[in-house]
């Protein structure tokens, strides 16, 4: 249902960030987008969700199809209305508003606003902790609670595609597992497709159906979760395993590291 066809993104008319990225997300799928920092993963998400424009970026070539209609370079709020919601990296909250107000804002775009009560209840069933915190000013939430809140807020808009940017960033191992469990549950119960950008390849591959690896603004590798997990390069660079399948110690990293890059 989402098809990204060979897009190029340029910032401030000078900086070329994406050099022809193509991939697709099918209904009900969880798709992961992996790759090192600066590969262009976040930019790809922003290109889809229309958030590039506030950063002076622009899709200059290629197209993004949503249900076979092009949606590149549209306004962000319009994209949200079409059913694509991005959860931005860094867990941005309306810090001076309460948890419940934050959630309501997520639902404000949903045409039948009067169902907002039901929607809140639905979010609280996924994230029971938010119910206890609902009158709390969100600026005082911890990282994990914040992550729950932003995912909950996105759910309020009844998305058909949920895009998560680094949900595990800076979270404790237990919390990462919890969040990913909920994401999986949301995918299963709501039938929401999920596009996941994640550094934590182990966690990502544990829940995804399909994955793409990006480097330098290009897709360099793709495959099902199983295929990727079995790939030697993925093992070494993203899972930290040696050829023998054991994790190597960070103490043993040498100065003359062997670097391997796909393509160039």
């Amino acid at each position: 249902m989402l098809e990204v066809q060979n897009i190029e993104v340029v910032y401030s008319n000078v900086i070329l960030v994406l050099r022809g990225v193509s991939f697709e997300v099918r209904p009900g799928q969880i798709v992961a987008l992996m790759g090192p920092n600066g590969a262009g993963k976040s930019t790809t998400l922003k290109a889809i969700s229309g958030l590039l424009r506030s950063e002076l970026g622009e899709v200059t070539r290629g197209q993004i199809l949503w249900d076979d209609h092009p949606i590149q370079n549209r306004d962000a709020d319009e994209i949200v209305r079409k059913g694509i919601v991005q959860v931005i990296e860094g867990r941005p909250l309306f810090r001076h508003l309460t948890v419940e107000e934050n959630l309501s804002l997520g639902g404000i775009v949903y045409e039948n606003g009067r169902h907002i009560r039901d929607d809140l209840e639905r979010v609280y069933t996924y994230f029971p902790r938010l119910r206890d915190l609902r009158k709390r000013v969100s600026g005082y939430l911890s990282g994990g609670e914040g992550q729950m809140l932003v995912i909950g807020r996105a759910l309020m808009a009844h998305p058909r595609l949920l895009m998560l940017d680094e949900p595990s960033l800076g979270l404790a191992p237990l919390l990462v597992a919890e969040i990913f469990e909920i994401v999986k549950e949301i995918n299963r119960k709501e039938g929401v497709s999920i596009l996941l950008v994640e550094q934590n390849a182990r966690a990502a591959l544990s829940i995804t159906h399909y994955g793409y690896v990006m480097e330098n603004g290009r897709i360099v590798l793709d495959g099902s979760a199983e295929q990727l997990a079995a790939n030697e390069d993925i093992k070494e660079f993203y899972l930290g395993l040696t050829q023998l399948g054991e994790r190597k110690s960070y103490r043993d990293v040498k100065h003359y590291k062997r670097r391997k890059r796909w393509l160039g």
């Binding site: 506030s54 709020d77 949200v80 404000i108 775009v109 000013v137 600026g139």
Partner: protein, 363 residues
């Protein structure tokens, strides 16, 4: 009967007048606060919006022949602009929207053309005109700057002020105008201001309460209660608070940030016109009006830039400080120094104003 060396009735008089003029200050502050709340922009053009708004009111109030036509055109333009931003029920067809606008326009036009009540017509016409002014300012000058440094936008409001000044000059010239709205008609057929309320023999003298200031104060109070409820309980109010805090994020969660900003500017435009008209009714409509907005800045800060209630309290505090300062230290100290001294003290004691939101900071 003396209070701290000054005649008691004079002190009381200063206090009462301070509270009442503070009401007008508060309304002006409210207009500035609302734009700041929605878009984070400190609006230097507010004084000029006041001038233009009040002159629109004057035109409707003064002119029986031309004004209805102007109002009719105005309401059409306003509806046309709004129709691009209003969210209709999704099921409406294009024809339905056109019909809706046509009916709305006809209703407004009917009120404007039929009524003999100058004041009613002026109020409707001004509300439309001032809201249109706000919308146009937002659309033409503020919207192109979304995502740009905040100070650029603040400077833009300054430039807008200059343009508004030029426009008022072209259209109305710069002579002072009287605006007797709170008045009856006397035997000669002249408008006669409502007599002030006099309370005799209080603290050794007579204390008077200007009726027009009292009415203005009442309107201000009503406006404030309305806005507090608006921001607390309506979806639009919530959207505005969200947009003010983080416009990029608001857009990301799907708010129509532009529409929200446009509405905020329209409201501010109408508020500017209201405050200016009330002020004009107590003295005169003068081209010096924008200077009044500058004098209200301390009130805005005193209350806190984002606080509706704060704007109200700030307005009153500045009003009272001015008048009591005048009673005790003379006008050159009272009106020109005291408000700023009060501001300095408050800012040092409470850096984000009396009711401003504490910044939530984390490292």
């Amino acid at each position: 009967m003396e209070i701290l060396g000054q005649p008691g009735f004079a002190v009381l008089q200063g206090l009462i007048t301070g509270v009442l003029t503070g009401g007008i200050y508060a309304l002006i502050a409210l207009g500035i606060v609302i734009i700041n709340k929605a878009s984070g922009v400190f609006n230097f053009a507010h004084g000029y919006m006041m001038l233009l708004g009040a002159l629109i009111f004057w035109t409707f109030f003064q002119n029986q022949e031309l004004a209805p036509v102007v109002a009719f055109a105005l309401s059409g333009a306003l509806l046309a602009i709004l129709s691009t931003g209003i969210r209709y029920p999704a099921t409406w067809t294009r024809g339905g929207r056109v019909a809706f606008i046509a009916v709305a326009w006809a209703v407004i036009g009917f009120i404007l053309l039929q009524t003999d009540n100058l004041a009613l017509r002026a109020i409707v016409g001004t509300a439309l005109g001032a809201a249109l002014m706000g919308l146009l300012i937002e659309r033409l000058t503020i919207r192109p700057l979304i995502g740009q440094p905040l100070f650029t936008t603040v400077m833009m409001t300054l430039a807008v002020g200059e343009v508004l000044l030029g426009l008022t000059q072209v259209t109305w010239g710069s002579v002072d105008r009287s605006l007797p709205i709170f008045a009856t008609v006397n035997a000669l057929g002249l408008p006669q201001a409502y007599p002030p309320l006099r309370i005799r023999n209080v603290l050794g003298g007579t204390v008077v309460i200007k009726t027009e200031l009292l009415i203005a104060f009442g309107i201000a109070v009503a406006a404030f209660i309305g806005f507090v409820l608006f921001f607390r309980y309506t979806r639009l109010g919530l959207s505005m608070r969200a947009t003010a805090e983080n416009a990029d994020l608001a857009q990301a969660v799907g708010l129509r940030v532009r529409a929200v900003l446009a509405v905020a500017w329209a409201i501010a435009g109408a508020l500017a016109a209201l405050a200016a008209t009330l002020h004009g009714s107590s003295t005169a409509l003068s081209i010096t009006m924008p200077g009044l907005a500058l004098r209200v800045f301390p009130a805005v800060l005193l209350g806190g830039l984002e606080s509706i209630g704060g704007a109200f309290v700030g307005g009153l505090v500045i009003g009272i400080a001015e008048k009591l300062g005048t009673v005790y230290f003379g006008s050159d100290v009272g009106e020109q120094l005291i408000p700023f001294v009060v501001l300095m003290i408050v800012l040092i004691v409470r850096p984000s104003g009396l009711f401003g939101e504490e910044r939530i900071e984390r490292v």
